[in-house]
Structures are given as structure tokens and as C-alpha cells.
Amino acid sequence: MIKTKIVHRPKLNFWQKLYFPEVFRGVLLTSRHFFKNLILHFFHSFGLFRRIAAAVTIQYPEEFWKLPSRLRTRHRLTKREDGSPRCVACMMCETVCPARCIYIVAEEHPDPNIEKRPKSFDIDLGKCVYCGFCVEACPEDAIRMDTKILDIAAYSRQGMMLDMNELLNPTTFIPRREASRKS
């Protein structure tokens, strides 16, 4: 047996029925929040009154969300102590990648004690699904997804391709102030 509860439309009283006072009250409420946040965010940006909370809005280009430390973000290639890539071009990430967005070309390393190295290492971010399998598959800890770069955009498909130099030195990363408030 389904119980039904009938919810009646709230009855308007005299002042509400007049209409204009209610409109005025609404505008007042919105304006109060607007001016309060405007003033508080203004002071916050100078480091004042930070204990008084403003609205949850993050001032995006200047401020940035506090990212969870395990979040998968844009890839990077790690380096050895001498600055050369740790990658040995074993193609494990390329093989495991479900989006097929990794393109590696291997070559012989000039030092015979090191077998193989990548001649080129490209990732097509336009195809990447950020699953993190490449990081899991890597036997050398050569690829990581911890740059915290999330805002990726380009004017062309070619612009979404990252080459080895970009992956080794993630230049588009601009360090930003983390938002004062947690999510």
C-alpha cells in the first residue's frame, strides 16, 4: 500500500499578495550576498579577514582547487640523475593504452650497457582517457600523471600532441595559489 501525502500550495498572506514588496525583498537578498562577497573576496586577496568565510566560488585563474594527491592529471616523463629520460622504450604503456594515444619510436642507446631508449615519445591528449594504465604498466617509473595540470586546451588537434621534450619538462604548468577553502 503506497501512502500518499498531499502537499498543499502555501497560502500567500496579504503582503505577499501585494507582489512588489516581495520583489524588492528578493533584490535586497541577492544584493546583500553580492556586496558581502565582493568586499570579503577583496579583503581576502590582501590576506585580510580570511577567517570570515566568503562564498565558495574559487577565483579560478588566480586561485586553484586543492587537488587530491592521487588525482590523475597530465602526464610527465621522469628523468635520471643525468637528466636523460628514464624511459627505456619498452612499449608497455603504448601496448596497454586503451585509447592508443601513446606513440613511441625506439632506438639503440649509444652506451652498449643501456639497451634501448626512446627516439620520440608522443602523447595525443585529444585521445587520452586519463585511465592511468600507462603509469601502472611502466616497469621503470618513467611515466607519471602528477603534474596537476588539468586545464588543457589547444586550437588544433596537432596542438594536443605532447612531444618528449614537453613531457620531460612540463612547461605549461603555472604554479597557482591554492583556494583557501577546501572543496
Binding site: V88, A89, C90, M91, M92, E94, T95, Y103, V105, A106, E107, E108, P112, N113, E115, K116, P139, E140
Partner: protein, 532 residues
């Protein structure tokens, strides 16, 4: 004929058969490293140990011959433990650099570890480092003695098959390692085979090295077109990941077992003779008329070509010559014969080689560097030097007006004759072939043909064995197989040919040429058939 039981299954074998062979016939897989059916028995890897009833110790299955009433057990607890421990020994000094090893994916150490090993390493000591990693020991092979498990297959190969004896095992104990004798180099004509028989990554192919991972490869059974032997082989292609090896499609060729032709082996000339499939190809029909070079659509170029062709044909049938080649498949030669001789009634259709004669030995390599001379001869084509020379003389004097070539580089093949001058005097010169060369640059009409890896068909080797080639790739760019080109020409000339596939063409061939009687694609199968 001894009768024995392997794991309870009874089998009767020839006298002298080893247990490993008997088990193989029964479908029981016994793991092994040093055993190779084409080489002598060394018995040093100990991986194939099995229990035999009434024998006190486990025996190596690759060496023990079957006796009447033998009871062999390959799956007992003891045998399983043995395999695990042998594998542990073999891997003691193995570097485990699978990610960078070219053998990974087709390595017996990986396969057997997953199947029989799966133990945790107990080794606390340092691994014994062998002298060197990645040493080129010849033009084709790279040696990495660290990965070697000393099965000695390569030593036996160079001792027994090629007889050159470059390999040896040096030093003692756990310092022993495989190597080349001082001052020697591994550069015999069959050196590539040692990379095939090496069960681990110690010997790798320098040509294939780092080009592509083996699990990306697709395999197609085919026949080597390098000489009249017609070695059975597999074309291994990489189409899914074109960024490897700069977009080359064929990655390597591997020999395929055929006891009647090449056993397990293949020569280096054949093995590395695949580069032409992806390099210097003719990609589009080209017309060179009145000094204007144009690439064209197939329909347009065929129309232009046939207009000239019909004009000459109307005047005289003697004024057109056709040079077919022993590189063409039986099917293509049959269609060429049908079109030019039967339907058009041309008399000057000759077989002309595309390659000069080369070296020959008493193992696999034949001097005749064409895969299908025998088939062409069965179809009635003869390489008549005098008639060919006559054609060339007539072309120079103006008595011959049209010439159709199937891939022959006449300028390089006949350097003593003025072919370039001859080609300019012809009012119609047609070149049908796959690759650019000096002669193709001179012809008026250049029709791009598919390479052997891009078509179906059959070749007949010098012994008269008819073998199938399979299509591994789609024809590059706008090239077409010769058979399709011939069918297109026939259709435009008004002949009503109804062939849907190469099998239909073969059917016609079988009916008209006595040597092919009773054959079919199904009967030819993987190993080919001998003509009666």
C-alpha cells in the same frame, strides 16, 4: 616398431624415435630449450626431463629412444618440481631485462616460467655478469651473452647446417658464455637463422631490433620470391602502429617449416629481401606522352593506352611484343597468355628475366632468382635470347612499334644495348611493375602493380612444387595486382572474362595446363603439392 605409453596413451612409433617426438605426435607438450628437430641432440638444458618406469632417475625425453613396453610419465609431481627447479637454475644469471629485450613476447623463458615456473626467487647472491651486452657479431646478428642459457643451438647450427663453425662456448662453470672465435665474424649466408633458433633473447636480429614489439605483428603465410627454391615463410606485418619503423609495413620475414623445401631455414638474401615492398614503389599510374608527365586515373590511362594499342594492332600483329616475367604468379601468367596469345593472337610474347643469375649453393640458394620460372615454362613461355634480341633490334629499326614489359629493368639488364634509345623510338611502351627504376622512368605508360605480399596466387618452384602465396597487405596507394590489370585491359578490349577470384583463375589454369591437373587451392594448402 616399439609400442609405448605416454601418460597412459598408447602409441606405436618407428624404431629410433625419441620420447619427445612420440609425445608430440600424441599432442603432449614437453618443454625444451636445447632440443631442435633440425639439429643433433645435445641434452644440456635438462628441461625435458620425464619419468620412465623402471628407470631409477628421470630421463631427458629429447634423447631417450622409445622401447617396447615403455611407460612414460610427463605430468607427475616429481616432473613438475624438476621443471620448476631447472628453470630456476637457467634463470640464475639471466638479467630479466624483458622490457627492453626484443625476444619478449616470443621468449621460451617467459613462456615456460608462466607455464612451469611461477616460483619466487630465492637468489640472494649477485648475478654473474657476462663479458658484454649487445655486441654485433656480424652484419645480421647482435649477441647478448648475459641472456644466454647455453643451449648451444647456435653452435650446433653453424657446425652442422652451415658447416662454418663460427660459434663456440668459452670459459668454465658459471663464467661460460657463448661467443665467436677470435678473428671470426658471423657472416655466412644463413646467419639470420640463429636468431630464430635462439630460444631466448641472446641472439637478436639487427635488422628487426627495436623496430617493433613482436605482439604487434600479424602473420601471413607466404613463399619467398627471392629464388627458384620457394622457401616457405611467414610475412610479419605491423599495420596497427604505423609510427614504428617510419610507416614501413613489413617488419620481418620468418622461415616456416616445410620438410620438402626448406625445413626450418631460410637464407639471408631472402630474409632481408623485403625492403622493396615499402620503398621506391610506383604509387600512381603515370603517363609520359609528348614530353608531358601526368599522373592519372586508372580508367583514363587504360583508355589512352588502348587507343594506341589498338592502332598498332590493326596495322600488324607482329609490331607488338610482350615481355612477361618469371616473377609473376601462375594465375597472372595464365591470364597474360589468355589475353595476349589466345584472344589477341600476338606471336611475340616472351619470358624475360627481371634479375640476372646469382650465386648458388648445395643447400637452399638457387642461381635462378625468380620464384616462378618453372610455372612459366609449364604455361609454354620460353626465355628465347635470340627472339628477345630480335625484338630489341626491330624496335631500334622501327619494325616494332609497341612493347609491354612486366617489371623488367631492361636498361640495367642489357647494358650493352641502347635500350633508352629503343624506348624513345617505340610509339607505345607500357611498363607494368611495382618499383621505380631507370626503365620505368622511360616508359610512356607506367601502371603500378602490387608486390607479392599484396596478392594471392601460386608459385611453382624449380622442383615443380606448386605453393600458395597469401595477401598480407592491401596494395599500396593505387597499385593493383597484375591479374587485375590484365582483367581490366581484357574488359576494355571487349572480352567477357568472368573471374571473381584468383581461385577461379586457377581453376581455368588447371583445366588448360596438364601439369596443374587435379590441383586446387585446398589441396595446395600450407605445404604445397608436387606436380605429377
Amino acid at each position: 616398431m616399439p609400442t609405448l605409453r605416454v601418460d597412459g596413451k598408447e602409441i606405436t612409433v618407428e624404431k629410433g624415435t625419441t620420447i619427445i617426438r612420440a609425445a608430440e605426435t600424441l599432442g603432449i607438450a614437453i618443454p625444451y630449450y636445447c632440443y631442435h628437430p633440425g639439429l643433433s641432440v645435445a641434452g644440456n638444458c635438462r628441461m625435458c626431463l620425464v619419468e620412465v618406469e623402471k628407470m631409477p632417475k628421470p630421463q631427458i625425453a629429447c634423447h631417450i629412444q622409445c622401447q617396447d613396453g615403455m611407460e612414460v610419465y610427463t605430468q607427475t609431481e616429481k616432473v613438475k618440481k624438476l621443471r620448476e627447479h631447472i628453470l630456476e637454475f637457467l634463470l640464475v644469471n639471466h638479467p630479466l631485462d624483458c622490457p627492453v629485450c626484443d625476444q619478449a613476447g616470443e621468449c621460451k623463458l617467459q613462456d615456460y616460467y608462466m607455464e612451469h615456473g611461477l616460483y619466487d626467487s630465492r637468489l640472494n647472491e649477485k648475478k654473474v655478469k657476462k663479458s658484454a651486452k649487445a655486441v654485433p657479431i656480424g652484419p645480421t646478428i647482435m649477441l647478448d651473452s648475459e641472456r644466454c642459457i647455453l643451449c648451444s643451438r647456435c653452435v650446433r647450427f653453424t657446425d652442422e647446417i652451415t658447416g662454418t663453425g663460427e660459434f663456440g662456448i668459452f670459459n668454465r662453470g658459471d663464467h661460460s658464455e657463448i661467443g665467436i672465435y677470435p678473428g671470426r665474424e658471423l657472416n655466412n649466408k644463413y646467419s639470420g637463422n640463429v636468431a630464430d633458433i635462439c630460444p631466448v633473447g641472446a641472439l637478436t636480429d639487427r635488422d628487426f631490433r627495436f623496430k617493433c614489439r613482436v605482439w604487434y605483428l600479424e602473420k601471413t603465410e607466404s613463399i619467398c620470391p627471392g629464388c627458384a627454391r620457394g622457401c616457405n615463410m611467414t610475412i610479419e606485418t605491423n599495420l596497427e602502429r604505423p609510427h614504428h619503423a617510419h610507416g614501413e609495413r613489413v617488419m620481418r620475414l620468418k622461415p616456416r617449416y616445410n620438410s620438402e623445401v626448406n625445413d626450418w631455414w631460410m637464407c639471408d638474401a631472402g630474409r632481408y629481401g623485403y625492403k622493396f615492398i615499402d620503398h621506391d614503389r610506383i604509387t600512381e599510374p603515370i603517363q609520359r606522352l609528348d614530353g608531358v608527365v601526368r599522373t592519372m586515373e586508372w580508367n583514363e590511362i587504360v583508355a589512352n593506352l588502348l587507343k594506341l594499342f589498338k592502332g598498332i594492332l590493326k596495322a600488324s600483329k607482329d609490331e607488338i611484343a610482350v615481355f612477361v616475367s618469371p616473377q609473376m604468379t601462375n594465375e597472372e601468367l595464365y591470364l597474360a597468355k589468355k589475353l595476349f596469345i589466345k584472344e589477341l593472337g600476338l606471336e611475340r610474347v616472351f619470358l624475360v628475366s627481371t634479375n640476372p643469375e646469382g650465386d648458388q649453393d648445395d643447400f637452399l640458394i638457387r642461381a635462378d632468382k625468380h620464384p616462378n620460372r618453372k610455372g612459366a615454362e609449364w604455361l609454354g613461355f620460353k626465355e628465347d635470347e635470340r627472339a628477345i634480341k630480335k625484338v630489341m633490334d626491330d624496335a631500334l629499326s622501327g619494325a616494332l612499334k609497341g612493347l609491354v614489359m612486366f617489371g623488367q629493368d631492361l636498361i640495367s639488364l642489357y647494358p650493352d644495348r641502347n635500350i633508352a634509345e629503343m624506348l624513345t623510338r617505340l610509339s607505345l611502351s607500357v611498363f607494368i611493375g611495382s618499383n621505380h627504376h631507370v626503365t620505368s622512368e622511360q616508359a610512356q605508360f607506367v601502371l603500378p602493380a602490387a608486390a607479392y605480399a599484396e596478392k594471392e596466387g601460386t608459385f611453382t618452384n624449380f622442383l615443380g612444387r606448386v605453393q600458395r602465396i597469401h595477401q598480407a597487405l592491401t596494395p599500396l596507394a593505387r597499385s593493383k595486382p597484375e591479374s587485375e590489370i590484365l582483367m581490366l585491359l581484357a574488359r576494355r578490349l571487349g572480352f567477357d572474362w568472368a573471374y571473381e577470384s584468383q581461385e577461379d583463375v586457377f581453376d581455368g589454369l588447371r583445366r588448360s595446363v596438364p601439369q596443374f591437373q587435379g590441383m586446387s587451392y585446398a589441396k595446395i594448402g600450407k605445404q604445397g603439392v608436387m606436380a605429377e
